[in-house]
């Protein structure tokens, strides 16, 4: 007798789909999707899309029949929201996959990281394609250029950005000047990178002479992009330093500037450092500003203040758009993807580094 009672559904869950309903619909959608794709030619991407649509339609119409329109609408919204997330993952996976597949052959070529493009002409690339000779040339000059330009940009941006954020938090007091700076820093984050490059170019054309293109010009262009990021992140970090620390310091008779340099900044240093690292990660991949300010070079240039300079992003750009050998672009493509892989690894390491810094050097809280 009790068996019948157990089998009967509770009045509370009446008119609801069973918990396992989505799994059933998913299984059916996958099978039907595979069947449909088998008729028109199977591929995994199409299978995923068709199955996802079938799943959404199946679940929503089943829910509409059993649970009513409101619940069905809720299910539809859930399907769309989850679908949006999956769609957003597609390009990420695709980009990383493409770069890995195309970049690894370039990266494992001997001498790729240690040689420049000096003297590597189309003739060598033709030979590499036609006779199977090894692909010559590498990214050493570009890597060196990227490091020099980014380093100089960091040296310019960090003091300016940090001092500005100190002004905003410690001295600003919501004065008109502070409000204007906050507003224009926000606006500055939206300056297109190529306009920043044009500004640096126009500035140096006017000051030094037309056609001035050096690593330093590129560094100025990158600092225009980097300063607002540094200001914003440092400002947030200085703001969360507890006021009690400042007041305790003042109560001991310590000057304001000593308080800032000895108490406030050390407390916030982990956040500031990780913000700076993120800002570096942001500008290290910028192409357009370097393109219009540093020109292209195929040789190693150790002087930031003189001569054209290569960088990883512009190296990728020129190798794709103007292959070393126009008739056989494959070696150039291989080098470009290898450089892209190196660039992505650099950016990811910087991002990871920022998280590590934030965690390792975080002020000890609690007791």
């Amino acid at each position: 007798m009790s068996a019948t009672v157990v089998r009967k559904r509770s009045a509370l869950t009446k008119g609801q789909l069973p918990k396992f309903a989505p799994y059933i619909v998913l299984a059916v959608a996958l099978i039907v999707g595979a069947a449909i794709l088998a008729l028109i030619g199977f591929n995994a991407f199409g299978w995923g899309i068709v199955s996802a649509i079938l799943f959404a339609v199946g679940l929503v119409s089943w829910s509409g029949a059993v649970e009513g329109a409101r619940k069905a609408k809720d299910k539809l919204a859930t399907c769309l929201v989850v679908g949006a997330f999956l769609v957003a993952l597609l390009p990420l996976i695709s980009v990383i996959f493409t770069v890995l597949v195309n970049g690894i052959p370039g990266l494992i070529t001997p001498g790729f990281l240690g040689t420049s493009m000096n003297g590597v002409t189309g003739a060598y690339d033709n030979k590499a394609v036609e006779e199977g000779a090894p692909v010559l040339g590498g990214i050493y000059h570009a890597l060196l250029g990227t490091i020099q330009i980014t380093l100089l940009a960091t040296v310019i941006s960090v003091p300016v950005g940090l001092l500005t954020s100190i002004y905003l938090v410690e001295y600003g007091n919501d004065r008109p000047l502070a409000r204007a700076i906050t507003f224009f820093v926000d606006v500055m984050t939206g300056i297109p990178s190529i306009v920043a490059g044009l500004f640096a170019a126009a500035f140096f054309f006017a000051i030094v002479g037309p056609g001035t293109k050096t690593g330093a010009v590129a560094a100025v262009a990158l600092s225009v992009l980097m300063i607002p990021v540094v200001v914003r992140s440092s400002e947030e970090m200085l703001k969360i330093v507890p006021n009690e620390l400042r007041e305790a310091s003042y109560a001991l008779g310590v000057r304001k500037w000593r308080t800032i340099t000895k108490v406030v900044i050390p407390t916030a240093i982990s956040g500031i450092a990780s913000g700076v690292t993120l800002a570096i990660a942001r500008v290290i991949g910028e192409t357009a500003p370097i393109l219009v300010t540093a020109g292209f070079a195929t040789t190693i240039n150790n002087n930031v203040f003189g001569g054209w300079m290569a960088s990883l992003p512009t190296f990728i750009y020129t190798q794709i758009l103007n292959p070393t050998s126009p008739s056989n672009p494959e070696p150039s493509d291989q080098r470009a993807w290898g450089a892209a892989l190196v660039l992505i690894i650099l950016v990811m390491l910087l991002n990871l580094g920022a998280r590590l810094i934030a965690r390792l050097f975080a002020p000890k809280t609690g007791r």
């Binding site: 609408k73 929201v81 957003a88 695709s94 770069v99 939206g190 300056i191 000057r255």
Partner: protein, 310 residues
Amino acid sequence: MTTNSLTTSQGAGRAGDKVFSGAAMAAGCLILAVLFGVALFLVVQAIPALTAPAEDIQGGNGFFAYIAPIVVGTLIAAVIALVIATPVAIGVALFISHYAPRRLAAGLGYVVDLLAAIPSVVYGAWGAAFLAKEISPAYDWLATYLGWIPIFEGPASATGKTILTAGIVLSVMVLPIITSLSREIFLQTPKLHEEAALALGATRWEMIKMAVLPFGRPGIISAIMLGLGRALGETMAVALVLSSGVLTASLIQSGNQTIAAEIALNFPEASGLKVNTLIAAGLVLFVITLGVNMIARWIITRHKEFSGAN
């Protein structure tokens, strides 16, 4: 007698205070000066192009005939990017803020942020080498069956290097911007509003429609505007993906050009008046993005005052 390093600097104290506050203020003023300088130097270098005789400018019809088609091209690419990115971004933001399991949400947010970490030139290379090739059959299909709509007029580009492909790549690049800003706004929705809606028997979607979206609307709008600013100024995705040409209504033929890509493609080899013309084009881009960003920031600040969300 031991001395405290914090309090020994009696004489240097007053001067140090002055110097330090002065330096901090100078740094702030420097930023204002830089922004002012951006505008000033662009204007100074652009004037020769604006005042030059019409036949000296590329195309031979003066600066405005030169700039008008690429301004329209820029707007087309940006609009395509936003049309694709906005619904997806809001969906992703809702997923992370209200649908994903709590434990996973932070990690998933980081995954979406990774999209923003990938350099633009890599997106450009991906769009040119992978996406354009994969998507060109879809363009053939569009040209065959929807060719009667002007924007899908055939014949479709065989290489797939069209403004629509560029727009899709741009949409991937603005997606993380719109997502992260909307997510912040959605997370600020007053918990009581949400719980009140759920307690009255609303489904999760009804709760989002009644509590989360109305609260977040100004934030979403400004997020979209900031995404627009990014899409307008993005260079590499267009320069590498689009095979540019004259202004065309069809999105699936090669043609059209954007300001940023025009500058990137021509500036390295430019000389003389051409440099001034390109800088003037940059000035136009600067003014457009400045306007868009200022409106976005204005919406955010106004929203902050009214909502009490912070």
